[in-house]
């Protein structure tokens, strides 16, 4: 009701302007994605047609190859079954979950300690972390490559998990540190007087209040691991590839027809979990990003 009265008051010109802006913005932001989803159900001569881009919409070649149907699941079949994309999905799941869990465990403990310590070196640790964060990822990887070969730990998942955690940790530390700073010290102190040890106070009182911050930081860690290309493409053998380097390998070998369509189908498959994730944690993320003062 209040919205109705609001839009009544607004001048027509402004309403049109706002609507037009939103429409343009949605098209700009969402169109590439919808285009990809649509195209993933076509064959390559349609989606990458040289004759007319209308082919990508109507699927002329797709109909010809498919007994009249304008849609085909062949891209998905090729990616998931023929080229075993599910392996990459499994690897990605292992890598992202491990990176997120390890980063969050170290990050909450470390961030809490740094936020409450009050010692001078806490500040320098944070600055040092920032320096490491600022370095391009690839410097870490190229530095590690040779020792990893020699130690014979190149190509396996745990190695890239460790490297990704190392890259991600400064960020989680900073982020969680500032979340902890926004929680009044009185809370820990009340809890300790009430009978908690320092760690119990952390677990029973601080973390429940911190939850949105933990979820937000966890999501960022998750996305870092999920989207990483630099580390995983250099440090994983072909058998152990995660999704992103796997998709890139679909693109790389262009001898076979349909390979590009495998990549397109895989890209779409890789995006779906992200949507679900964001929808699921929406509330915590928003309150995590806007969290500031915690009312005591």
């Amino acid at each position: 009701m209040s919205q109705a009265t609001l839009s009544h008051k607004r001048p027509l010109g402004l309403t049109i302007l706002i609507t037009a802006f939103i429409v343009v913005w949605v098209i700009l932001a969402a169109f590439p994605f919808f285009w990809t989803v649509w195209g993933s159900f076509k064959v390559e001569p349609d989606f990458f047609s040289r004759e007319s881009w209308w082919n990508a919409i109507f699927g002329v070649y797709t109909q010809r190859q498919n007994d009249g149907s304008a849609f085909t699941g062949s891209g998905y079949y090729g990616a998931w079954v023929t080229r075993e994309f599910w392996r990459a999905v499994g690897n990605t799941a292992i890598v992202t979950v491990s990176v997120t869990v390890i980063s969050l465990t170290l990050g909450t403990l470390g961030g809490y300690a740094l936020a409450r310590s009050g010692q001078r070196y806490a500040f320098w640790i944070l600055i040092l972390a920032l320096v490491f964060r600022a370095m391009p990822h690839i410097t870490l990887v190229s530095g590690y490559l040779l020792p990893f070969f020699q130690l014979n730990i190149w190509g396996v998942l745990p190695t890239s998990i460790i490297v990704l955690v190392a890259i991600n940790q400064p960020f989680t530390l900073w982020m969680l540190h500032s979340f902890f700073l926004s929680i009044p010290k009185d809370l820990d102190e009340s809890a300790m007087v009430d009978g908690c040890s320092r760690f119990e106070a952390f677990r029973r009182v601080i973390i429940p209040v911190m939850w949105p911050g933990v979820v937000t930081t966890g999501l960022f860690s998750f996305l870092l691991a999920y989207n990483d290309f630099a580390v995983t493409s250099m440090l994983l053998s072909a058998d152990n590839q995660t999704m992103v380097p796997k998709i890139s390998s679909f693109l790389g070998s262009v001898q076979e027809q349909g390979n590009v369509m495998f990549a397109v189908a895989a890209v779409v498959s890789a995006t779906v979990p992200l949507f679900i994730l964001v929808l699921f944690f929406q509330r915590q993320i928003v309150s995590g990003l806007t969290a500031g003062a915690v009312k005591g």
Partner: protein, 349 residues
Amino acid sequence: MAQIRLKNVSKRWNNFVGVDNFNLDIADQEFLVLLGPSGCGKTTTMRMIAGLEEITEGEIWIGDRLVNKLEPKDRDISMVFQSYGLYPNMTVYENIRFPLKVRKVPQEQHHERVMAASKMVELDDFLQRRPAALSGGQRQRVALARAIVREPNAFLMDEPLSNLDAKLRVSTRAQIKNLHHTLKRTTIYVTHDQIEAMTLADRVVVMNKGLVQQVGTPMEIYDRPANTFVASFIGSPAMNLIQGSIEGGVFTASGIRIEGLTSVAKGPVTLGFRAEDATLADSNGQIEAPIYTVELLGEATMLSMRVAGELVSIKVGKDYRAEIGDMARVAIPAAACHLFDHSTGARIA
């Protein structure tokens, strides 16, 4: 059982001295009030006793245990924080119950004890709310309830009434006094409100700038302030202090002359007397000066006059009427006068 002893306790941050060489024996079941202006180190002292602040120097004993190195949880005290320290994610009920839960009090006692504690501070109607949905005074009462829900060695309360309105403050004050009588626990209570200190305390510790100024019963502190700081801090209005000089038991300053003092001191001193000890005189008073203001208080009238450069308050009968600028004569009995050292402010007589 739970007497608390502080031996030469000091707290320093780099060069800043928060609490300096604090010595005190607090008897079991005593109600001790720490009183002093803002920033004098009251909270710091309390936090050191609770174990939340590291002690730079000295020893703290609770019962027969040296607790310097003991975690707060092992000191078995409960505390009401100046800023409440309530758990925002828990309801009032859960907040009050929390100490029982952590200290592993048998489950079946929880409900009864939470209800008893919340009843004492009249919180029954708010048990299912979160702290964010409470007023400052209600939050303070939750903090109080959480402290009294278990039976610790000692209660530490940091200005637990500061956010209550005048009426609730008086009734909660009475509740705390009664609670102390019922629970019989050593209680250390911080306030900068001297009326609270006077009404609640068995003994008062007056502090200023990290230093203990005086320790004594409320009456001792009121009747025999140890120095000019305590004299000017306790009582409303505060004690009148006049700089002058004394010789042969006669104090003089411009506009004032008091004879018959027993002190044998000689030279510059500070003289103090309370507004209610002075009376109006018809002739030969000790002060003769024009009236500066007249304030009607209802039960009395407060005159102020300028004597020796200071504004001096005199409490007179409620029917007294005079105009500003009228001359008034005031009698001050020599027995009601306090003498303080001119430079250190310490009491001489």
